[in-house]
């Protein structure tokens, strides 16, 4: 009785409080996201790492972190960016840039569908595009972009991965001349780089660059189906402000979506047009046979000014600083998301071509025809929520738009433009992802929200908190929250793909008979130490459970010591690690059949133990050795060996 009264009073008191944002999770949510131990997830989810510079791979629907792929940032955990083989990957014309801000990802496409061969990633800060091989989950190529700053509307693809397209968020003077910042309107330009992709090997090259009037190219998407030949970019700061953009770039009621006919531009370039410009940019490639990356500085790029591209570029007015610019699976609708607008405009590709044919222009923007808003508009989604950012599609006729300010996902009908459902996100959603939701063939089963703020969602960890993701089941009419998990770095855009497309192509080991590394050691009998001046090359092998040689003497202070470690194992999941005391560099993780090199320059005489850092076997702890470093000028002879061949050990 008292209890009942107590509960009644408590409820009454609660009723006076403001509602807080507790999650509403329905009964079987746990079952929907539960992947039993030993079972596989249905999808891979590749998620950008934002300021971490890396890419994270999660399983869906479990949210389990499967791997962190090092891309633009050094990764001491496995030696990426520290080993002699991987150092060239992070080389740029500004020297080694060992970090970046990684925002967007796209899986390679064939006929507008994910083919699961490569994953492209952008570096926002020091403009670069990386290619990750999805058989090894390894970064195999990084291409720097000249005439670019703030590589944000990147890397988005044409329908058959003909091009990776990379537009600039920051306008800068093309050709790097020294001009006053206030001369923005005359001197600052936006550029769009068209990066061709080799059909067989995936190798990237800058085919040409299109120079546009100074503005901020925010996001972009390739057309598909009927709009195959086109590419679309959202823009802001068409006011051309160079200071206090918060106010000065929000003046105009409408900015633009740039519609570019890349097919026509390609033909124009093929006819020999375009100006060759002397520039410098780094092109870094990893070779899977030599296990070695190389960095080359390329010197030339073909540049086209928008003024020579008549009938190839048009502007579509779009309300209030559009952010997302997304094309639906049919290729018919282009969704602009004005992040300060109270509606979502949806443009029709058919109307766009008709308006262009009828020259239905309302004016020009620096010589580029501006189409009439109404003549291109399919319709507006009214009152969708606040702060629309990005839209993904389920392939069943619905769009799902993230709302940053009102922290929600809104589902709407593409044809009728009616909002049919909305769910809260926790909190402040940025991007969202439906596996394949940006392609011709979405796997419309889940939508994942990537959030900027977590506040009270998890146990507190001091002032710095994790960002998060939430998975919603969208197989029914209503979106249903089924899981919430923290992420590494700050997730921006992500890609999801059915596991079946890539899992069976995953490489297990590197075939040692195909190892063409310059310093490979083909078998323990060939392990040796070679001195050339003050350079010492150690040809070392690793196999369960010893390193050979494991005793090395005759190395002096100041020598440049290179440990070239070859993992002789040919069995799946038997990597070896390598680390040496006081090395200011990093450690190595060496996969079966691979050779990796760690440089060590001892600063003091002494005994330096080295060992395997990856628990490889029952005798992993015994996998260790010594490097004796003697004072410079002493005459300790160079001696090395393992077991009976070790210096000072008499053969039995």
């Amino acid at each position: 009785m008292y209890t009942m009264l107590g509960v009644g009073t408590f409820t009454a008191l609660q009723g006076c409080k403001m509602k807080n944002a507790e999650t509403v999770v329905s009964g079987n949510a746990a079952a929907k996201s539960y992947v039993a131990p030993g079972k596989y997830d249905e999808f891979y989810n590749f998620v950008s790492g934002g300021f971490s510079g890396q890419v994270a791979v999660y399983g869906l629907p479990s949210g389990r972190l499967l791997k962190v792929i090092p891309v633009f940032s050094v990764f001491p955990e496995n030696g990426y960016g520290y080993s002699e083989e991987t150092k060239p990957m992070l080389n740029t014309t500004a020297g080694e840039v060992p970090w970046d801000d990684q925002h967007h990802l796209t899986i390679s496409l064939t006929n507008g569908e994910q083919d699961g061969r490569w994953l492209f990633a952008n570096a926002n800060n020091t403009p670069r595009v990386a290619r990750i091989d999805l058989t090894t989950f390894k970064t195999v190529e990084i291409l720097q972009l000249p005439n670019s700053a703030g590589n944000h509307s990147s890397p988005y693809l044409t329908e058959n991965t003909e091009y990776v397209i990379a537009g600039t968020r920051f306008s800068v003077p093309v050709g790097d001349q020294d001009v006053p910042i206030s001369s923005f309107k005359e001197n600052f330009k936006s550029t769009v780089s068209f990066i061709s992709v080799d059909k067989e090997h995936g190798n990237m090259d800058i085919a040409f660059q299109v120079v546009l009037p100074g503005m901020d190219l925010d996001l972009s998407r390739g057309g598909k189906g009927p709009s195959h030949d086109w590419f679309f970019f959202s823009t802001y700061n068409t006011e051309q402000a160079h200071t206090l953009l918060e106010v000065n770039a929000s003046e105009k009621d409408k900015d633009f979506i740039v519609a570019m006919n890349w097919k026509k531009i390609e033909e124009y370039v093929k006819s020999g047009k375009g100006k060759k410009m002397q520039v410098e940019y780094a092109h870094n490639k990893h070779n899977e046979e030599t296990h070695q990356a190389t960095s080359e500085i390329e010197k030339e790029v073909i540049v086209l000014d928008h003024s020579e591209l008549k009938d190839m570029i048009y502007m579509i007015p779009c309300p209030k600083s559009p952010h997302g610019c997304d094309v639906d699976p049919t290729g018919q609708y282009i969704v602009g998301s004005g992040k300060l607008a109270a509606l979502i405009p949806v443009f029709s590709f058919d109307k766009l071509t008709k308006a262009i044919g009828a020259k239905d222009f309302e004016g020009e923007y620096h010589g580029i025809p501006v189409l009439k808003y109404e003549s291109v508009l399919h319709g507006e989604v009214k009152k969708p929520g606040l702060g629309p950012l990005h839209t993904e599609f389920d392939g069943k006729g619905f769009g799902y738009t993230s709302m940053f300010l009102s922290s929600e996902i809104v589902k709407w009908n593409i044809e009728t433009l009616e909002v049919v459902d909305r769910v809260p996100t926790y909190y402040s959603i940025g991007h969202l992802c439906i596996p394949g939701g940006d392609t011709k063939k979405p796997w419309g089963k889940y939508v994942i929200a990537y959030n900027k703020i977590t506040k009270d969602r998890y146990l507190p960890t001091g002032p710095e908190l994790a960002q998060s993701a939430q998975i919603y089941d969208i197989s029914g009419d209503k979106m249903e929250l089924i899981l919430d998990f923290p992420t590494i770095g700050e997730p921006h855009y992500a890609q999801g793909i059915a596991a079946s497309v890539i899992k069976d192509k995953s490489v297990k080991i590197y075939d040692i008979s195909k190892n063409r590394h310059e310093y490979v050691t083909m078998g323990e009998a060939k392990a040796k130490v070679v001195r050339t001046g003050n350079r010492v090359d150690i040809y070392m092998t690793a196999i369960r459970s010893h390193l050979a040689p494991d005793n090395i003497e005759g190395v002096y202070v100041g020598d440049e010591v290179y440990f070239h470690v070859t993992n002789l194992e040919q069995d799946w999941d038997v990597p070896h690690g390598f680390a040496i005391k006081n090395n200011p560099n990093a450690e190595l993780l060496i996969m079966p059949g691979e050779t990796s090199t760690l440089k060590f320059v001892p600063q003091k005489a002494g005994m330096y133990p080295f060992y395997c850092t990856d628990f490889c076997s029952a005798l992993h702890q015994e996998m260790q050795g010594y490097l004796r470093v003697s004072p410079k000028g002493s005459n300790v002879p160079l001696r090395f060996g393992t077991g009976e061949s070790a210096p000072g050990v008499a053969a039995k």
């Binding site: 196999i543 369960r544 459970s545 194992e569 040919q570 069995d571 076997s617 029952a618 005798l619 015994e622």
Partner: protein, 193 residues
């Protein structure tokens, strides 16, 4: 006394059965352990080894077992030669067309078979017992002789040893031969009556 028609046909069949030894492995040894979810296996052919031999060698160094190399087995030269001669003798049996030679032929097969199994057992015994005294892992009283046929648990490994397709044909050849011998013998007795 002459061979029956069935007897003659059986010789051809047996030769065909034995020819499968060049197409399929004779024996299959499977190993399973928790950290090898897909299992490991090794196939023994009349003239070769296949499967995860290198991986198995890598593991066996812990217990000091000798590494397995194709070159160590002279059998891979002698056995194919023996079998080819034996198959040739089959043709001779048809030509001579005498029951007596069929019995002798069968006898030779039984001897080859027994010797082969004894040889196989000897190898398994040697690998299982001739261990490096300096091996990292020594379990007192433990030997690692894989079973000739059937299942055995050794430390963290489960081992299953059984005939492969070629082996089954080899066994079938032997069974058929012995059966035909009885058949021929029976026939000859009824004729005498």
């Amino acid at each position: 006394m002459k061979l029956t028609k069935f007897g003659k046909v059986s010789v051809v069949l047996i030769i065909l059965f034995l020819a499968t030894l060049w197409k399929f492995p004779m024996w299959d040894i499977q190993l399973g352990a928790p950290q090898y979810p897909g299992g490991l296996s090794m196939q023994i052919w009349i003239n070769d080894l296949s499967g995860d031999v290198e991986v198995i060698n890598g593991l066996n160094h812990y217990i000091g077992m000798k590494t397995i190399h194709k070159e160590d087995f002279k059998e891979f030269v002698y056995l194919p030669l023996t079998m080819m001669i034996f198959m040739g003798l089959g043709l001779v049996v048809i030509l001579l067309n005498r029951k007596k030679f069929y019995y002798i032929w069968t006898g030779i097969f039984v001897i080859i078979g027994l010797m082969s199994f004894y040889d196989f057992y000897r190898w398994l015994y040697a690998y299982g017992h001739d261990l490096d005294p300096a091996a990292p892992l020594k379990v007192p009283g433990m030997s690692y002789q894989p079973p000739l046929l059937g299942y055995k648990k050794m430390l963290n490994f489960e081992v299953m040893s059984q005939p492969h397709i070629g082996g089954w044909f080899y066994i079938a050849a032997g069974v058929l031969m012995v059966f035909v011998c009885f058949y021929e013998w029976k026939k000859s007795k009824t004729l005498i009556k």
